[in-house]
């Protein structure tokens, strides 16, 4: 349980199959370097990200949660990302009202051709979460 090494943030990423996951794939095939702090979960659409998954990750102690979807207007299911946007706004409002740090949750539009943007987003988020320090939920067993 004791951490002797330097804090490495752990980021859980929920990525849509068609855009951001493919963008992440492109980052890999393009041999772009980015921090290994992200654990990717692929879903068919950002509109399929149940806010409960995000809450579960947060309460379990994930340091950051990234939701990646197609740019507005580009959703392969027409409107999933627009609905995801509303859900994320609602979820962050709830977390803020409950006294949680809503800035651990990021929503980003990253297309299949934006491998570099994916790598940059992971770099940016890893550093932002490193600056925040560990999610206090990591040690809160009574929630």
């Amino acid at each position: 349980m004791t951490e002797t090494t330097e804090f490495e943030p752990k980021i859980i990423a929920f990525l849509c199959n068609w855009c951001t996951y493919t963008g992440a794939d492109l980052a890999g095939t393009s041999r772009l370097q980015y921090p290994p702090n992200v654990r990717i979960i692929r879903l068919m659409c950002s509109g399929a990200v149940d806010p409960m998954y995000v809450l579960k990750a947060d309460l379990a102690g994930a340091d950051g949660i990234l939701i990646g979807g197609c740019h507005p207007g580009d959703c392969h299911y027409q409107e999933g990302n627009y609905k995801a946007r509303r859900r994320v706004i609602a979820l962050k409002e709830i977390l803020k009202s409950a006294g949680f740090d809503e800035d651990r949750i990021w929503l980003r539009w990253i297309s299949a051709s934006e491998g570099a943007r994916f790598a940059e987003t992971v770099r940016e988020m890893t550093e932002a979460m490193r600056a925040k320090g560990p999610n206090p939920m990591k040690t809160m067993w009574a929630v």
Binding site: M1, M52, L59, R86, L91, I94, S97, W109, M140
Partner: protein
């Protein structure tokens, strides 16, 4: 159109019962859902088909045992269904509109008879106080509104003490109790089509009385004080996990919520049936794991599902055996969320639920 229902012998309840009987006798509806007095003295919603039994109807009794929207939903949900009149307080009417949007009720053959509310007690408080009182408990409550006297009644349900929506103005039939001198008369308004069936010779409806504005203003102040208090706790040192620390996970808040919409709650589904080794994994992750697990997940998920449609009826608070301020936390969260989406639950059937709709050109900075 509105009429003034004459009150004889200072018995407004009898006048109101007479009005409800006329809905059955003039064949406007088949059945009426209304608060009814039981032989024990308690008051509960009941579905009444026999006009004679309406002598036991008591919509004035200041008690809320269940939010009757749930039951109006069950009776109206699908065809074939009866033509129903449902006597509802504002929070019940608003919950019913939300349920209709969620396809768990239908207003097709349902007449909402909205009664103005001066606040309610829990069933046990009501019974205790009514047993000790010679006069019906509603008299003081409605009189206080008319006299604009600032009575702080700490016995009322907290949800009622901070309720800023005591009247529901979008109903086909409205019993304007707060504006009526109940010794003399009861103002009732109805849509013209219904007024015609009732054979009314009424006058045009008028706007809201300044009395009600004053009443709403004082309740709004009480609400804002309660919000400030709970927000200090939620956003300060304590946080929601401390505020809800004594939760025993009975799920009562979920069971009594009129608009908790899932037929099977995910927290009672196989999603939360875990393998034994999963518990070990969790215990190892944090060194220990509260049992039952996922208590905060339960509360935050419920807020996430319900807060936009929360009508503030406070049934959750009444049902909590640990006396947690469930409803107040819900309302404090809901208030901000509803402002963000410019949504007032129950206001209008035509307004879509915020999370099933969207605009392409909103919050365009998010995600960039």
């Amino acid at each position: 159109m509105k009429i003034s229902l004459p009150v004889e012998n200072h018995q407004p309840l009898a006048a109101l019962q007479g009005f409800l009987k006329s809905l059955l006798e003039k064949n406007i509806v088949d059945v009426i859902l209304t608060p009814m007095r039981t032989p024990s003295g308690s008051v509960t919603p009941a579905l009444v088909s026999d006009a004679v039994l309406l002598n036991q109807a008591d919509p004035l009794a200041p008690v809320l045992a269940v939010n009757a929207a749930t039951w109006a939903g069950k009776v109206s949900l699908r065809e074939p269904r009866p033509r129903l009149a449902a006597v509802l307080r504002s929070c019940e009417a608003r919950a019913l509109v939300e349920l209709t949007k969620m396809a768990q009720a239908s207003l097709e053959d349902l007449l909402i008879v909205a009664i103005d509310c001066a606040g309610t007690y829990t069933p046990s408080t009501y019974l205790r106080k009514q047993t000790q009182s010679k006069l019906p408990l509603w008299i003081d409550l409605y009189a206080a509104v008319r006299q604009q006297s600032e009575i702080v009644n700490a016995d009322l349900r907290l949800a009622c003490q901070i309720c800023e929506q005591p009247v529901y103005e979008n109903a086909p039939i409205r019993v304007r109790l707060l504006e009526s001198d109940l010794e003399q008369t009861i103002w009732i308004e109805a849509q013209d089509e219904i007024a015609e069936k009732l054979g009314w010779q009424g006058t045009a409806t008028n706007g809201r009385s300044p009395l009600i504005d004053a009443y709403i203003a004082s309740r709004t102040q009480a609400r804002d004080r309660a919000f400030a208090e709970i927000r200090t706790r939620l956003e300060g040192e304590e946080g929601i996990s401390v505020v809800f620390a004594a939760c025993i996970r009975c799920h009562n808040c979920m069971t009594v919520c009129p608009i908790c919409y899932c037929k099977t709650c995910v927290f009672k589904s196989h999603v939360f049936d875990h393998e034994p080794m999963k518990y070990l994994e969790w215990a190892r992750q944090k060194g220990a794991q509260r049992m039952p697990p996922d208590t905060m997940l339960f509360h935050l998920t419920r807020q996430n599902h319900m807060a936009l449609s929360c009508v503030g009826c406070g049934m959750c608070t009444d049902a909590c055996p640990s006396e947690l301020p469930v409803g107040l936390v819900f309302r404090a969260v809901a208030d901000r969320l509803q402002q963000t989406f410019e949504y007032l639950p129950g206001r209008n059937l035509e307004e879509p639920l915020p999370l099933v709709t969207f605009k392409a050109d909103e919050w365009t900075e998010v995600g960039e």
